[in-house]
Subunit: 485 residues, 2 copies
């Protein structure tokens, strides 16, 4: 169906309007445009209608009507995808299904430490609900103020604290979802052990809306840490950063809540371009590590652990200099040096982002090899890798050479991504650690996940969504979808 | 195909023999019988052949030959299934594929703390390999001496330490598997973050050999704990046991490595029937808890944590009495009281086992309600629930009344299971927490996991194994397999 097939679409919209009631349907371009523009503004689209159902039954009713009419659906939460996963293409034939009105917290059980919550609740609101019960929802990502639980799960979001608590997938005990046949999977269980058939929950999480639309979930909460310690460390080499990580992990693996790597180039950009950002060390260094330790205990021993490890590392030269936050304000200002990396890179001109992962032990090689390869490709390019060293997940971003025309730099984005990709590939890594595939990266799937793996994914897609109407063209490349095995 | 279809089977066996080479094929009844008898001896079967391939390519070759001939395959590891998941039926038409010769440790990376290992390595051998590198493979189950990694993953094994480390599924970074079309899924990645398509690994784990045959895996290891503390506590009520769990978790959630509940009835059987078992408390109690704390740190503070929580609980009456192990020998003797539960129940006569789970907060209700319901059903019956309270997973076993004819008791096993099941169901629980579904419990699936959930599982099975030749009749009930969505 295309946007010009007006009669059929008009009839569908009339039926959807009747199901959704007042405020449930948006069709005016002025209302729908915000739903059609992806967060990075990489690929603006168009839609004939935005559906805003208020509960799971209404989602199912919308799905049945759209599938009956053969109209593709694009589920959308907070619209914060980095890979154009949640906005319609520009055919004007894809309907947007917004989950934002499913925004109720259904229940919180402080004994189980479980939170049952609808898809449209923002991650921040979910964190706040957990905190009000003296619990922690450990998932934390920079878009948490807008990102909604449905999208967070559909993309298996990661973030800073996965090293201690796992990715979104590890935090989900139960899922409720509307499947492409309009049926509702009532999997809102809150069991820590349940071996009764296939892991549908795990399959839906990370499937980016291509197999089902998550309408609610049960999340596992944790007790809130009672001690937090944060330190910024200067290191000469990526190898020293890895060595420091190994020492903390050997000393107490449960204590490491974040272990973030930052290149000197990246931190220099933050210091130069973010007002108020200052380096609390005597001199600049080739690389930095931000380490955060946490403990649920009240015994005040966490600082000792931090000081012991850092003291030994300073003494033997693994760490050149280090500073420990002495207050919440200092803690936040250290974290700000890490969190402003994206903003600083934006201000420095054009940049190309790579959200890649490798085995933890190979992060130093990744940094060395990809830096060298990109500098050879475009002399003067500024590699500014940063991110979750403890998870092997580095945001290998590259900032344009000073003075280069941004458009000329961006014209080479695929060359740059392929250059980083070749290094990642050689190190047995992944081209998308956290952000998913969306509509931006399905073309990479045959090369990276081809053979039996992609074939199995296609069979699953075909089994769930034989007419290819749930987020088509996302995750799996569109062409050659086989009819079956 | 049936066992009488000799020509076709004979031709297949000749081809398999050529592929497998010397020692790779067993056909004599005296050789195959051990592969046909399930561990609990619930359902002895027969097979025309046991295939013993030595590597992944040979597994794939066997699969292609069997599928071409339309002959069903039953993958088998250590043959320790509790639910008849790994042995052939008695049709003499199912071929057994043993993974036991795929028994190499492929690599261990102490920096990544990852272990790449083949399916036929026993869990114990895998634990030993990890320990030799000063790492911990935290998965621990009572059958670990025989159970093999392939089966451990295919059934998403749990065990005592899941509260701290998760189930098998949470410990697997990568999987290699032969799919029903004979292709090999090369998913042996060792990445902590990888959002590139559907979670095939998570789907294969727990699918009990019905979607693919796991041939190798990458497991996440942990540092070995440097402190361990174990205590046995007497409690008046299941509610007190739950309260104690909550206190430990609030104090330090990462420290609780095991939190095991035992009924007074069950422990009395151990004390009466297991030579050398003694109760290191002054008097018997209605219920007991065995708690094990662990820490990676060397700071000697774990004992203080244990004493603080127990001291307060003794003072306010939550715990009636408690003993802390003062040596490794004492630690083992406390654990023995828990581990001998199954053996003691065996010696006490016939018993019916229920491996069930409920939300953690509802364990006390489970124990009270199911105890009462079973005592009403069969006066004199001895409910002896025990297990992983911290995971909401209780082995709700019932021992026959003293003096009753064991056969008469076992004749009522379905009544008993249904009685427990009704309570579990009302508490939003699961009929199989750890042991899986196998061939023993598929009949429960329509009732417990019916509707959209079972329909989706059937579609997945159909997509992977359209001819239903991988472990047919296991997990999913055999009848009414639809042709497609």
């Amino acid at each position: 169906m295309s946007g010009t097939d007006d009669g059929r679409m008009t009839a569908l919209i009339a039926k959807l309007d009747a199901v959704l009631g007042p405020g449930g349907l948006l069709t005016a371009r002025s209302d729908t445009d915000a739903y059609c523009t992806d967060w990075r503004n990489l690929s603006p689209g168009r839609t004939p209608a935005v559906l805003r159902p208020a509960d799971t039954d209404a989602v199912a009713a919308c799905v049945r009507l759209c599938v009956e009419a053969g109209v593709p659906l694009v589920p959308q939460g907070g619209n914060t995808s980095m890979v154009v996963g949640a906005t319609p293409d520009n055919s004007d034939g894809e309907v947007v299904l917004s989950l934002s009105r499913l925004n109720r917290i259904r229940s919180l059980d402080p004994l189980d430490m479980t939170l049952a919550i609808e898809a449209g609740v923002t991650l921040k609101a979910a964190q706040d609900a957990a905190a009000a019960a003296d619990c922690l929802l450990p998932l934390s990502i920079s878009s948490e103020g807008s990102a909604q639980i449905g999208g967070v799960l559909a993309t298996n979001a990661g973030g800073n604290n996965t090293i201690r608590y796992g990715n979104a997938r590890e935090l989900v005990l139960g899922v409720e979802a509307v499947l492409p046949d309009g049926s509702v999977f009532n999997g809102l269980r809150r069991l820590r052990k349940d071996n009764t058939g296939y892991a549908l929950r795990q399959l839906l999480v990370g499937s980016e809306g291509t197999l089902g639309i998550i309408t609610a979930a049960v999340l596992q909460l944790s007790p809130r840490p009672r001690q937090l310690e944060v330190a910024l460390c200067a290191v000469e080499t990526p190898e020293a950063a890895l060595e420091l990580f190994g020492r903390f992990r050997r000393e107490d693996p449960t204590a490491v809540q974040a272990f973030e790597f930052m290149s000197g180039t990246g931190l220099d950009l933050v210091l130069a371009l973010i007002p108020g950002a200052t380096l609390p060390l005597e001199q600049r260094a080739p690389h930095y590590v931000l380490v955060e330790l946490a403990s649920g205990r009240r015994d005040g021993t966490l600082r000792g652990l931090l000081e012991d490890v850092l003291g030994a590392a300073l003494e033997d030269g693994t760490v050149g200099d280090a500073v420990i936050a002495e207050s919440e304000a200092q803690r936040q200002s250290l974290w700000r040096l890490r969190e402003e990396h994206s903003e600083a890179q934006k201000r420095a001109g054009a940049s190309v982002k790579n959200d890649v992962s490798v085995p933890v032990s190979r992060v130093p090689e990744l940094i060395r090899l990809a830096t060298g390869a990109c500098e050879t490709l475009i002399p003067g390019i500024r590699p500014a890798p940063f991110g979750h060293l403890g998870d092997g997940n580095i945001h290998f971003n590259l900032v344009q050479p000073p003075g280069m025309d941004p458009a000329a730099f961006l014209a080479r984005d695929h060359e740059i991504m392929d250059t980083v990709g070749a290094v990642v590939r050689a190190l047995d890594g992944s081209f998308s650690a956290e952000h998913g595939v969306g509509r931006l990266k399905p073309y990479m799937m045959p090369d990276w996940r081809g053979g039996a793996e992609l074939a199995a994914m296609r069979r699953i897609k075909q089994a769930f969504d034989p007419r290819n109407l749930f987020n088509p063209g996302r995750v799996l490349p569109a062409e050659d979808m086989p009819a079956g095995p």
